[in-house]
Amino acid sequence: MVNLIEADIAIVGAGGAGLRAAIAVAEADPGLRIALISKVYPMRSHTVAAEGGAAGVVRPDDSLEDHFHDTVAGGDWLCDQDVVDYFVAHCTEEMMQLEHWGCPWSRKDDGHVNVRAFGGMKIERTWFAADKSGFHILHTLFQTSIKYPSIRRLDEYFCVDLIVEDGRCQGVVAIEIASGEFVLVAAKAVIMATGGAGRVFLQNTNGGIVTGDGMTLAYRHAVPLRDMEFVQYHPTCMPGTGLLFTEGCRGEGGILTNKDGYRYLQDYGLGPPDPWPRNKAMELGPRDRISQAFWHEERKGRTITTAYGEAVHLDLRHLGARKLRERLPQICELAEHFLGINPAKQPIPVRPGVHYTMGGILVNIETATPLAGLFAAGECASAGIHGANRLGSNSLSELGVFGKMAGIAAAAYARSNIIAPIAILERQAQGVERKALSLMVADRGSERPAVLRDEMARSMEAGCGIYRVGAEMQATCDTIATLKERYRRLRLDDRSRIWNTEWLSAIELGYQLDVAEAIAHSAINRRESRGSHQRLDDFRSRDDAAFLKHTLAHYRPDGPPRIDYGPVIITRSPPGKRVYGGEAERIEQAGKEAIHAA
């Protein structure tokens, strides 16, 4: 039995991107019926955990041009530059919009919004709400969404499939978690806003819900996943749990030291260590470089041993207790509560952890996927702004800029399309229901979902970590294939319908295995090193001739994905050397002198 909800637009995911899209639809046309579907209540969505802030040019000494170049170079030239241009031009108005909706941005004494420094950004342009920026953005969007009667929330509905009829996406099927009943949400357009997939790795900063659902759902319906090999390791996470200590710590002046108290980043092309402030240098380098530097320090034996592996020190002591309480209250709380450390008195042990999936569902600049009627925004999408390495504070802005775009584009699409007769969609939905229920059949086998999940995460960490080699990536590809085989023999303890979280986790594990496979195969096929994809075998450097292109992973039901490639849009920034610290300053100075001389 499948229940029916009819809408004009279905949005899957109610984090920053999904909520922003819903509001955009409601504002574009209050007559459109919106179904906002989320497997958790909106305020639990993982946007909540973002700490540092969101980029938007505001200072008189800053420019869109600088934000553009920081983003493109930060992404190691794998960004689509037309999309980056659109993005940087719209970040500030989105930040302003959030302010008008009540977001409690931190302020300067004169009442204007304050901005802080962030990694890889030349000028301070990160809007922040203490160190709970994502939390405040999410709650502001959620609370604002309540104003709009056309937004019908389906809280705690778990999406199991898309309905594709006549070549167009015409709705989704979801499980109402509280009852275990299936519902067909028929809609003229669907927006995916389901977030990333960081939980396919072992040590990660992500919440348990970050399982790549939307990526896999689109992928299984022949939408390519783009650039999946680019997985961001955030350099400052708690050993063991992977909990995040924001880059804002370093934006406020925090430093990283090894076991000898030495600021080791100066040994990795990010120095010299002074003078301060030091945007785009040392601790304010990009995340990929800083995580890679950790890897080398560990191998040199210069890291600190903790109960949960090697670490370096994030030292905030010189900021003083008062500034720490004002700017980084949650960091203090996390350090005190989970590590028993007062950051004003002791450095915090940190190590890299998986944080963000740069790749995702292929979309164009208007957030449309190749599947008609399906749009995607936020971390689940690959809009083309992050390239091979995302800069911190670009992703929260992305939720606003492209969440809004998705709402507007989907609204326009919904107004000019109709859906197939409901009976046809219902027949599909019944097929989806049968398949999802088959996971609960008793005699499938004896594999425990948690065992498979942990083996997947360990294998991804081993083969697709900060540095990669062909043989290890191959081993991961093989392991994932085996796990997918074993997944068919899953045995669940729980065969009930009401709040059966074991069943839902098993469906999520299916999503994760497909995403993991796309990551591993995209990685092994990229025979170069770029951004967050660094190889230690024969492909140690960037190869623009062969690989200045986007990876496209195409789903195949009976085997690994088919990999091909798409073009990167270069408009005005030809691929250059990616430099930070003193070297970047020297090159910039030389450039200025050349212009003067000319």
Partner: protein
């Protein structure tokens, strides 16, 4: 305390008694004991995850962020409302200790309670900025000094974990009481110098299920994991509600007693 390597690795065991309720099989809740190995830094959430992964896949509970910001994992631990991710197992050694669903809420299954009623309360208090004066985006931000921000900032930190409702005896008696969390959110907007809808929200404060239902026990603020101090929000609203009441006798509109928006928008 930071675990040193030796103690963290030498796992001890403890018995966790979990209240189970599966509406498809249990007529009423029953207690089930699980023996769980733990390390010094292990949270109760990790204990429950251990049970689910290795002992009994049928145990249901909500969780996500693991870092006390998503608000999903509120439950009664050792009889008190706490976040499972922020509570360490070692506190209860040698045990056993109990884990139960949040008090005062209907149980849907095991440790999962009904959240919908609480969300309806949030939705009812106009939880969004209703500006005193409309500005266009190209006119820039509404100015707000750090001091003005500080007047409501604490109340904006609420993670909607509902621990305060489980602590509130009045909510236990009267499920329609607006309660500490929603009152804190109401104060978050009423205290915001950019907002101009205090009068509208004060109408809700004055009602039978508004601030006057509170019996000033203060346990809500004690259990709050984010120091939001909802009791303070309720108290501020009682004061304003009383002031409004007297102002009405003087023929002035309700809400004009709200001191929150003291400063004029610069």
């Amino acid at each position: 305390m930071p675990p040193d390597a030796a103690t963290a690795i030498a796992a001890r065991e403890i018995v966790i008694e979990v209240l189970r309720y599966r509406p498809e099989t249990n007529r009423e809740p029953v207690r089930q004991a699980y023996r769980v190995p733990f390390t010094d830094d292990m949270s109760v959430l990790q204990g429950l995850q251990y049970i689910k992964d290795h002992l009994d896949g049928t145990l249901s509970f909500r969780w996500s962020c693991r870092m006390a910001i998503c608000g999903s994992c509120g439950m009664m631990i050792g009889g008190a409302p706490r976040l499972a991710c922020m509570t360490v197992v070692r506190e209860y050694y040698p045990g056993p200790f109990t884990v139960e669903p949040l008090a005062h809420f209907p149980i849907e299954r095991d440790l999962v309670v009904t959240v919908g009623g609480f969300v309806k309360k949030i939705e009812s208090i106009y939880p969004y900025l209703i500006p005193k004066t409309q500005r266009r985006l190209d006119e820039g931000e509404y100015l707000q000094t750090p001091l003005q921000l500080a007047r409501y900032e604490t109340f904006s930190d609420c993670i909607n974990c509902m621990l305060c409702y489980a602590a509130c005896p009045q909510f236990g008696e009267n499920p329609d009481f607006i309660g500490p969390g929603a009152m804190a959110l109401l104060q978050r907007y009423n205290g915001d110098s950019r907002d101009g809808a205090q009068t509208k929200r004060m109408e809700l404060v004055h009602t039978d299920n508004g601030a006057w239902s509170c019996t000033a026990v203060g346990y809500c603020s004690e259990v709050c994991p984010k120091q939001v101090d909802p009791a303070n929000a309720v108290n501020q609203n009682k004061t304003r509600s009383a002031l409004d009441y007297f102002l009405r006798f003087l023929g002035r509109p309700a809400g004009s007693g709200s001191a929150a928006s003291g400063e004029v928008e610069p």
